[in-house]
Symmetry: C2
Subunit: 418 residues, 2 copies
């Protein structure tokens, strides 16, 4: 197999399709999305048969039960996939929206309008439903998508992509609107990541290995969907019950996601009063606490936290806890060890809240609320392709709007520059 | 010299300064900008002595007269630099502006506010005034800047950067707000381009060699300021005088810039009537015309255009001219051979204009106006760091607004996710 030739063919067909798709009506795109939902639903059995192949080879490869569970496409999950597609059909189309318009002193009318980005490559390792979600968000925002899923889900992904691609064709969208890369060798990623003439954006979603590989090898712009080392800071004027509830929620409601917390920092003046309460509540949920020296003086039976712990995304029922002397030390800790994702201050003091909100350099900074709300659905975006951990173009939840760029339309009557 | 150690020190000091600068008041930033203008003006003689060193070594290296001219810092150019700094002090500060705010069903108040990007590395090859312009735009938008200019202007750049850096300190900004890399070996760029922990964005401004090197070696997000292969399309319903004026302006008013045109496409039905008129006007301005077969049948003495010409940014008084059968062929040509920069249709037909505006995939698409207007100053942005040829984050002119990103501030009263 000549990977380079294959990739060049995929990318150049995508570029061609992108120019067509960019100017297709909202009605036609919505028709395609509803068709997708119908076709996925109708082909449930085919999808599950393909999924069974992935599960069999996953068991052979001794994947963990958690991973096998995430891989499994139950009836419910396929129904959810269809609901997701229909919901995206109902969202407002950002393409063509005028962001701003003005007249220049020369009499030129300038309109800044939202347009699709063009061709987006999505590289992911996770559940096969990402194939449907990502395709739908791209189609709705007028973007052609090249999907590259993980080897563990290749049969499910191929089946889903084939069905969606046929739905697009039926609804009158370009044939190459959705393409899935059929080979999962990492060797194939290198030629993909240098197609900057044809591909406008790469979105990698996954663990450190994948993100690093993409960042180091891509000449195409990349928006990373990477890790979340998120914090709760309990200020000296915090409501202790509120702090406890927020910490328990942010750690345990879904520990395996990026907006769950990994670290709690507590102001020294409130530590005596609140640490035991918080520790008891966490232990009730089976959370292992790792504390610094001062924490271990207040709470019995806490493991020592290591330097490495502060920089670790556990994605598990483990929490690092430290005591800080003041809010500035908390902010400095977060800006040094955090991943610029989601961080919360719990305090009754408005000035302290203001300081934390302005100085913490993260995509979403919270006052008296759980970090778990940093999510496209919770923000009201309807659906998201993921949560960007980059600062360029899109920060935090990436919905339909964040999948567009803009261009300037300039209307004159013969103006020349002097 | 241990380049890597030096670069890591520069980058980590920049990151530290960025956290401070991000929350400094507009008044303080403006004070620094005015101080910069004053100090540049006061040190004119020092700057010119440093500049003389560059000119002497430039003459030794046999740089072209055009390049030496661009390198020269005359009294007028230094005054212009100071005026530029004062103008940027007068522009509106985007930092802290609320883009949007809303309440969620949970009662969370979400504010999306503009914040600085952080640390920006600007890599440029051109005139030493870029050192002052770029620094000022970064300071005003709250960004710390790492400058890496070309070897031909190193003495001028170092002197200007030293003065600006001292002005920042005097006005109370962090010491490392402006840093210039003192070494110009390309070997030093590689360690710079992998400091993605400390540098948030790289903006390369220059020729193909520089842009390619940065794109291939950077693990930091890049916004390219690259080439302009811009077009005028003369539709069958064009006003011929208007077409002629726009073409002459867009080609000859300043041929060495990215928003000048390189190609004219003419609809076959109007070619007989307009080509000779346009050719005569261009020849009066010493423009060399390279035409396709059909053009050369209409206009005498035209050189043949080659396949390579259509993809060439001449930056000179040379123009490729072709005849197309219809508007769709013109659009397809532009989307294939253009650089997504600036393209114009000249037509009296509104429907044709609409089609061109929506289908041409460029940062600015014009109707009946010169491409030379794709410029931050002309758009009313006040000043620009350059013109982005990328689609991610910023397209076209990058002013203060485009040098910011955003974050979400989320205010609650104890909300947790269920």
């Amino acid at each position: 197999m000549n990977y380079e030739k294959y990739i060049i063919s995929v990318a150049s067909r995508a570029r061609k399709a992108a120019l067509e798709l960019a100017v297709i009506s909202t009605a036609k795109k919505n028709k395609a999305l509803k068709q997708m939902a119908e076709d996925i639903s109708k082909n449930k059995k085919h999808i599950q048969r393909a999924n069974e192949k992935d599960l069999i080879s996953g068991r052979k490869k001794k994947l963990s039960e958690a991973l096998l569970d995430r891989l499994t496409l139950t009836d419910q999950r396929i129904n959810d996939m269809c609901d997701g597609l229909r919901q995206i059909a109902c969202l407002k189309d950002p393409v063509g929206q005028c962001i701003n318009q003005w007249k220049t002193p020369h009499g030129l009318l300038i309109q800044k309008v939202k347009v699709p980005i063009g061709v987006i490559a999505i590289i992911y390792e996770s559940r096969p439903n990402v194939t449907a979600d990502s395709s739908a968000l791209c189609v709705k925002s007028g973007n052609v998508v090249i999907l590259r899923g993980g080897s563990e889900a290749i049969h499910s992904n191929m089946m889903i992509a084939d069905i969606l691609s046929a739905s697009c064709k039926k609804a009158g969208l370009p044939t190459d609107t959705i393409q899935l890369i059929k080979y999962t060798d990492r060797a194939l990623m290198k030629p993909l990541l240098v197609q900057n003439e044809s591909i406008d954006l790469v979105i990698p979603r996954g663990g450190e290995g994948l993100i690093r590989f993409v960042t180091e090898n891509s000449t195409i712009p990349v928006i990373k969907h990477y890790n979340g080392i998120c914090h709760v800071y309990v200020d000296k004027n915090a409501d202790i019950t509120m702090a406890k509830n927020i910490i328990v929620n942010a750690k345990t409601q879904r520990p395996g996601v990026c907006n769950a917390i990994e670290t709690v920092l507590v102001h020294k003046d409130i530590a005596q009063k609140c640490l035991q309460v918080i520790a008891d509540a966490l232990r009730e949920k089976d959370v292992e606490i790792r504390g610094d020296m001062r924490v271990r003086k207040v709470v019995k039976g806490v493991k020592p936290v290591t330097a490495k712990d502060w920089d670790t995304e556990y994605l598990d029922l483990i929490l690092s806890v430290g005591i800080v002397n003041n809010i500035n030390d908390a902010i400095a800790h977060i800006n040094t060890h955090g991943s610029k994702h989601s961080d919360t201050i719990v305090t009754k003091n408005k000035k302290a809240a203001q300081e934390f909100l302005s100085k913490v350099d993260s995509s979403a900074v919270f006052h008296n609320a759980s970090t778990r709300f940093n999510d496209g659905g919770q923000f009201g975006f309807g659906a998201e392709i993921g949560i960007s951990t980059d600062k360029i173009h899109a920060r935090g939840p990436m919905g339909l709007n964040e999948l567009t760029t803009y261009k300037y339309l300039v209307m004159g009557n013969g103006q020349i520059r002097s």
